[in-house]
């Protein structure tokens, strides 16, 4: 049941200190249903702390987290996954030396009662997932392909397809375009569109506004542990957004007008 005004994720008044250092200060953050949020900010702005709290890696120091309107009281990595929150890290998502089909089912193998792999079934399903879930096609790519041989963008495609297949409701992409060539970046952005088309939500973490602008619905700008700006795409042009970001970089503030 999706309530009309309910958000998929609501993080309210989140504060987090590491020793004396404030990583987040009374931060509020939301993701709507079927919404792609661009989470923008420099290193140390608090992006990854925010995400780690959401995905159960860090406990929040203070504050509340709601998922589909219900408060999450005991949060952990397992709990986040059960809820349907999946993170796709560029470098850390896949086992490079293993076959593609094994990666798709990593940790959730298709097995018989005794735990033996259903190899044929899993390979067939892998083909279907890649094709149907995100329209992933690449010449010569088969379920037996070794992940190491895939390009950076293709690897992300596999990781995203995997997350969508396993009913993720929210997919978090951590710097998905970092270090990728232009054509690879394009592929990744297409995969993000695929997430949206599947009716799912996405947090796209980046410090490259040019990459996230075409695919996001809303932008949240973090600086030194708090939100300094929030923009709906249809209200702001890329140019204006870029100017605002320069302003943050210089002053740490964004004028909202």
């Amino acid at each position: 049941m999706e309530l009309k005004n309910e958000k998929l994720v609501r993080m309210v008044n989140i504060s987090k200190y590491f020793g004396e250092v404030a990583a987040l200060r009374k931060e509020n953050f939301e993701v709507g249903y079927n919404e792609v949020v661009g989470l923008i900010g420099d290193n140390g702005a608090g992006k990854s702390t925010l995400i780690k709290i959401l995905t159960g890696v860090h406990p929040p120091g203070k504050g509340r987290i709601y998922f589909q309107g219900e408060e999450i009281t005991y949060h952990s990595v397992e709990r986040a996954r059960e809820l349907g929150i999946e993170t796709v890290y560029q470098e850390r998502a896949l086992g490079e030396q293993q076959a593609l089909w094994k990666n798709i089912f990593m940790g959730r193998e298709m097995t018989t009662h005794l735990g033996f792999l259903q190899v044929k079934k899993a390979k067939k399903e892998t083909e279907r997932i890649l094709k149907e879930v995100i329209g992933f096609t690449a010449a010569g790519l088969t379920p037996d392909s070794i992940v190491e041989r895939l390009s950076g963008g293709e690897k992300q495609g596999v990781a995203i397809a995997r997350a969508l297949h396993f009913k993720a409701k929210l997919i978090i992409l951590d710097e998905p375009t970092m270090g990728l060539s232009l054509s690879e970046t394009k592929k990744v952005l297409n995969f993000v569109k695929g997430i949206k088309e599947q009716g799912k939500s996405c947090i796209f973490i980046t410090h490259n506004i040019y990459h996230v602008y075409p695919v996001a619905d809303r932008f949240v700008v973090l600086d030194r542990g708090r939100t300094v700006g929030e923009f709906i795409k249809k209200d702001i042009s890329l140019e204006k957004l870029v100017n605002k970001l320069y302003l943050v970089a210089r002053t740490g503030e964004i004028s909202q007008n």
């Binding site: 996954r81 890290y89 998502a93 086992g95 792999l117 010449a139 392909s145």
Partner: protein, 320 residues
């Protein structure tokens, strides 16, 4: 283009190690045809190589997990002592067998816990436990041997190290059977997949819900268990417990695993490779002596075979 994604090198790697084996045996046959074309030499290999093979099979998943264990020969030693002294003192070899296997299992478990829960690198932990078990054996046994001759002819003896059809050593069948079991687990079972992912990319494995700590502990535990099993087989084969049991197995077993193409970087390795690696390492010394070289050449040739094979693996892996 079509070949871009496939990893043909993994097959090539297995063929290359097999080719090394064939090349060596060709040399042996040419150098000593009378010895290497007669079955006796092969029966002898079948009686000696299995001890190392069983431990190498069990060591393979540990190395695939990107860990190492240096203590298994000492675990073999303590278990061998345990089996010998208990069956001598109680007269019940089955009980001795069970307790000895449990000892090995617990020793492996201890390694696993120290690595995973205490967080000590396995190289360091197992240097410690290696000395510990070895020292314990010396203290307990007071460096004395134990005869196991009374066990000859028992069903236990026959089924573990008897001669099938009067010629084939039972331990060879155990080694082959276990090789199949390990292959099955690594390639066709969920646990095997978890082992590969744990060694390949522990962060993503953890993120994807693979219980990486449990995987590592289990992997160390089974090595302890199979080291004990090898120790018992050795006791029975010799019909005597030597306080030096286990010595000399460390480097040869590790070399066999690496020779077989298992990568020290984790996530890669095959049972087929390990099995062939064991045959190579286990037959090299006899081969060298049979062709008329003095025993002094053994280490040098070990070194050459290992370095050349591992270089071939590395080159095959790099080429895409």
């Amino acid at each position: 283009m079509l070949k871009r994604y496939l990893k043909l090198s993994e097959f090539k790697l297995q063929w290359s190690i097999f080719a090394v084996l064939v090349a060596l045996f060709t040399l042996f046959i040419m150098g000593a045809p009378r010895i290497f074309l007669a079955p006796d030499m092969y029966y002898s290999f079948m009686s000696t190589i299995p001890f190392m093979t069983i431990m190498a099979l069990a060591l393979t998943p540990v190395i695939i997990c990107k860990e190492i264990d240096l203590s298994f020969p000492s675990v073999m030693g303590i278990s061998a002592w345990m089996f010998a002294s208990l069956s001598a003192s109680t007269g019940n070899p089955t009980l001795a067998l069970i307790i000895s296997l449990i000892t090995g299992l617990l020793a492996g478990l201890l390694n696993g816990i120290l690595v995973v829960k205490v967080g000590i690198p396995s190289l360091i932990v197992t240097i410690g436990t290696m000395f510990f078990w070895k020292g314990l054996v010396l203290v307990f046994s007071a460096a004395g041997g134990i005869t196991l001759v009374p066990l000859r002819g028992t069903i236990l003896f026959q089924s573990l190290v008897g001669r099938i059809g009067g010629v084939i050593p039972a331990q060879a069948l155990w080694a082959v059977g276990l090789a199949f079991l390990f292959w099955l687990i690594l390639n066709r079972h969920k646990f095997g997949t978890h082992i590969y992912f744990t060694g390949d990319n522990i962060e993503s494995a953890r993120m994807m819900g693979i219980p990486v700590n449990k995987v590592k502990i289990l992997v160390f535990t089974q090595l302890g268990f199979f080291a004990a099993f090898a120790g018992i087989l050795l006791d029975l084969e010799m019909s005597y417990y030597w306080p030096t049991s286990g010595e000399g197995y460390l480097l040869e077993t590790i070399a066999a695993v690496f020779l077989g193409g298992t990568s020290a970087f984790g996530g890669m390795g095959t049972i087929f490779g390990t099995f062939i690696g064991c045959i190579i390492i286990g037959s090299l010394e006899s081969g060298i002596i049979s062709v008329g070289l003095s025993g002094y050449w053994t280490n040098l040739i070990y070194g050459l075979v290992i370095v050349i094979s591992v270089s071939i693996h590395s080159i095959l892996r790099r080429r895409t």
